[in-house]
Symmetry: C2
Subunit: 294 residues, 2 copies
Amino acid sequence: LTGEFAFIQALRALASDPAARGLSDDCAVLPFGGEVLVLTHDAIVAGVHFPPDADPADVAWRLVATNISDLAAKGAEPVGVLLAYQLAGGEERFLQGLAEALAEYGAPLLGGDTVGLPAGAAQTLGLTAIGRATCAPVPGRDGARAGDALYITGPVGAAMMGYEALCRGEADPAMTQAYRRPRALLAQGRVLAPVVHAMMDVSDGLLLDAARMARASGVSFAIDRAAVPIAAPEARRDDALRWGDDYQLLFALPDGIAPPVQAFCIGRAVAAGAAPILLDGAALDEEAGLGYRH
Amino acid sequence: LTGEFAFIQALRALASDPAARGLSDDCAVLPFGGEVLVLTHDAIVAGVHFPPDADPADVAWRLVATNISDLAAKGAEPVGVLLAYQLAGGEERFLQGLAEALAEYGAPLLGGDTVGLPAGAAQTLGLTAIGRATCAPVPGRDGARAGDALYITGPVGAAMMGYEALCRGEADPAMTQAYRRPRALLAQGRVLAPVVHAMMDVSDGLLLDAARMARASGVSFAIDRAAVPIAAPEARRDDALRWGDDYQLLFALPDGIAPPVQAFCIGRAVAAGAAPILLDGAALDEEAGLGYRH
């Protein structure tokens, strides 16, 4: 038993409760007290998910925004968060970014845990976001059907360009903003949730995340490469389709329904083929390079 | 701003929601739908909260039991958990202990996150436990009043003896069980919650945790040293009162009410003095050695 994939496969045996959604969705979805609770926990590690020298205010923002984005993909509204913090210096800046992000998303800090960081260790931070569903059923990744249109709420590649600017030492904060301060699309998710067949946020790259939705739904997605909006030079289109961190919402809509928010049709669900993605007709699977940055 | 205490003080400014209980309680307590949600997240770090060479099955058990113990202190019943796991080898054993603990406490795995561990880093694990309150109001640490009797559900020191046996290389699992496999007292917590003025689990040491309850409640506790049940040689009594990890429930009960579960009266709440604890009449505060193991 080695590697993340094998471990998660083994965890699924312990996650038989329907609320766990087979550990294949962005969130757990749990009836509670006559309403529906939406729960997610994402962890980030220095040197893996953020550069060790990143501004802790940006790290805090990212930690909050990525978890709130999972709620957005369920159409849920935030109720609050629990913070798992590891002391590593830079706490003033971390608190500053945390306060900004929690205020932005209206999510109060409800609790959590603060622990020490042994010498030489990598700071590991976690956040549990608690949300309230605003529609029933709560959309998952698994509901796309052949014939559905596939949409994305906005361009991909902005975070990539921001990251590269940051690596170059770009001083203008506006040039790196998309990477440092990703936005969770709560309002769009809430409007979309009642009408989509499937929805998720694009965190690991459009092609990879679309492949996950395709596999969960038992379809393939035929994607029109040129139809994908990008926020990068045209020469970087293939990279932009494989980079994550933009947190756009990707959703499958029944044919003939207009999306209730601004969105771009990038393809269509078709009967499942051997590969989850057909990019301009070319079969792409994990081995053929859907992309994965970390 | 340095150190855990200063950081938590600063976090309190972001935790003004009443559900956060000022970050001074074992759990967040949140009305949701027509019921009350009880939420906690504890993290543990290799080399800080468990030996790096510990059996991962015991680590998994501890991670679950310590969080479920926080629910027990609220009289809550478990609804499920989210796991924040960091891959570090030993996953088969971890899964074994996780399965055992989740089955023991009837808490399904609902979700979470699995991330990598950079070379040389210390494994950091987190668990969010989600519970349902079974009585209203949900007891806190802050309700003890002068005149209340102070009780503990069982002896302290068993985990200390188990830890020391483990360090000696003791082969008999029964000798190290109390440290390796602490038990969360869910049934006792549930029966106690409706009648106590204040309750918490003893995780960091009886004297230190009693001092926290005293400060939160605005009282002092006069504790009768000889009345504290210990599971250690009499010569180790002072150590046993300062060691944690036994997860007994500590509670304040109105004078004249008999506890509805087996418990030992170890003292009484008195008007707040300069020190939170009077041990056989001697004032003890954090500086005077309440004890803290990590």
